[in-house]
Amino acid sequence: MSVLHEIFNFSDYGALLVLVRNSLIAGAALGVVGGLISVFVMARDLPFAVHGISELSFAGASAALLLGVNVVAGSIVGSLIAATVIGVLGVRARDRNSVIGVLMPFGLGLGVLFLSLYHGRAANKFGLLTGQIVAVDTPQMSWLIGTSVVVLVALAVMWRPLMFASLDPDVAAARGVPVRALSAVFMIVLGLAVALSVQIVGALLVLALVCVPAAAAMRVTASPRLLPLLSVLFAVASMLGGTLLALGSAIPISPYVTTLSFLIYLACRGIGAVRLRRGWSRRPGLAAAPARAYSTP
């Protein structure tokens, strides 16, 4: 009972709610960013890159913590360095994975080094890896919102050519889409989004926000309009839901957020499986034809 009470505690809920107003706003902004960027993380097969970037983002944030400068800025610098290295050295998927595999432990090691040298509040240290408890202060808030706006504007401008380049790079290039430049710009935008997420859910759990929402949505829709909408909905729901559930406890918000997003994914996978069995790929007028299995398109 006491463990359960530690995980879910809703006493003085109203008073606490006022305190986390900032966190809720930040969570919603992050949900929108994560939901949209995860569409391209999935379309471009970049989940592993996200993980690699988040480790270097963690190193940057811990360096900033040690030096006593703005942690969000440190995290953004770390992210951008990682995104640039992965973007430049890892054009092909194989190269990319090995570059990330090399970069990731180095970033994590650097982060551990900086944190060991840091003698401030222990909660700050832990928070960078596994997420904040609740508090987002006002200067952090303006960084978070500002970076979110940059990411959202960049995505709105390049959405269509980026989707074209992600799904069909040869034809996109033939039609005049600057495929390579878009790829580089996207890595930078992704770096910013990851740096944002590290602040709230922590470096180890970024994928819950920057990969899972679209992975879930893709199971239930292939409509290019519905997909980003659902993905944003899932991300915002798990961010806000996680924050509200975590409120009364002394546990960071990340386990709540990751569990919610995992449950959403499971539900979507279930719905998707049923839909496939009933014949997602059934042609009208050929109702008797058996549905094709997902694995053999």
Binding site: V39, M42, A43, A156, V157, M158, W159, R160, P161, M163, F164, L167, D168, D170, V171, A172, A173, A174, R175, G176, V177, A214, M218, T221, A222, S223, P224, L227, W280, S281, R282, R283, P284, G285, L286, R292, Y294, S295, P297
Partner: protein, 275 residues
């Protein structure tokens, strides 16, 4: 030989795409040189040759994605006039698009910013392109769940949706079964007949398209020969191109190319591979 739609070629019209005295070389290795090429509206040109003869490079030159070493390329209407059908390659099963969205990429996929205007008109063009390739039945199915032949039709629809003046196809029949090879070939023929689109078709198998081809450009051994099928696909012509004995045999409306030695047409084995 079966019916040939020679009347589809608008010989009086200006060429859609031309090369003049064009050469392509990688370092010392000259793939081809002195190439003059005019493709006219409604013409179907097959580009043939063994691997490494510069077929795909020629297509990339025509696409404007690769510069010529010497010579000039002229394209009537700029790159917007080009439709491109790449080699058949499976589209990711989880690609977040239905067939109709994939076709739409051909119309506005290269545009920046959110799509604000013209949704209805774009939709009508997508529907028309899907109907042209007889793909309406699976317009709303996720493109990654379609079969290889269906995906290739959708690719053709995507290329046609922009209403190109020339359709450049890179081995569009590769890895398709004979049934779908025939279907896609017939589709190309239909398109150039009805729309007057010029079609350049890179292939190492002439047989699926032999009934529709107006002209052949055969690249081999740093040389080339262009002309009607009967002028180019002859033992003495290919022997000269390859510099080693090659025999062209006709059997039941099909061509069998039998090469001599290692320098011979490596592609003949593919042409005769049982279906």
């Amino acid at each position: 030989m079966a019916v040939r739609s020679l009347n589809a070629v608008r010989t009086d019209a200006d060429p859609v795409i031309s090369l003049r005295d064009a050469a392509l070389a990688y370092g010392d290795r000259v793939l081809w040189s002195g190439l003059d090429l005019d493709v006219r509206p409604g013409e179907l040109l097959a580009v043939l040759g063994p691997n490494g003869s510069g077929k795909t490079s020629l297509l990339r030159v025509l696409l404007g994605m690769h510069p010529l070493t010497t010579g000039t390329r002229r394209l009537d209407g700029g790159n917007a006039a080009i439709g491109y059908v790449p080699q058949q390659r499976a589209i990711d099963a989880h690609a977040p698009m239905r067939a109709r969205d994939f076709v739409r990429l051909g119309i506005d996929g290269h545009r920046w910013g959110p799509p604000l205007f013209g949704g209805r008109a774009v939709r009508a063009r997508v529907d028309a392109a899907l109907a042209d390739v007889h793909a309406t039945a699976y317009a709303d199915i996720p493109v990654g769940l379609l079969s290889g032949g269906e995906q290739q039709r959708v690719r053709v629809a995507q290329a046609l949706a922009a209403d190109p003046r020339v359709l450049l196809c890179d081995e569009p029949l590769l890895s398709l079964d004979p049934h779908h090879q025939r279907a896609i070939s017939a589709l190309m023929d239909d398109v150039r007949n009805r729309r007057g689109t010029a079609v350049v078709f890179v292939t190492h198998e002439i047989n699926p398209v032999i009934d529709y081809v107006d002209r052949v450009l055969y690249l081999a051994g740093g040389r080339f020969r262009a002309g009607a099928v009967d002028e180019v696909m002859r033992s003495e012509v290919l022997t000269e191109l390859y510099g080693s004995p090659v025999e062209v045999v006709r059997a039941g409306g099909r061509l069998v190319v039998v090469g001599g030695g290692e320098a011979g047409p490596a592609h003949c084995a593919d042409e005769e591979a049982p279906a």
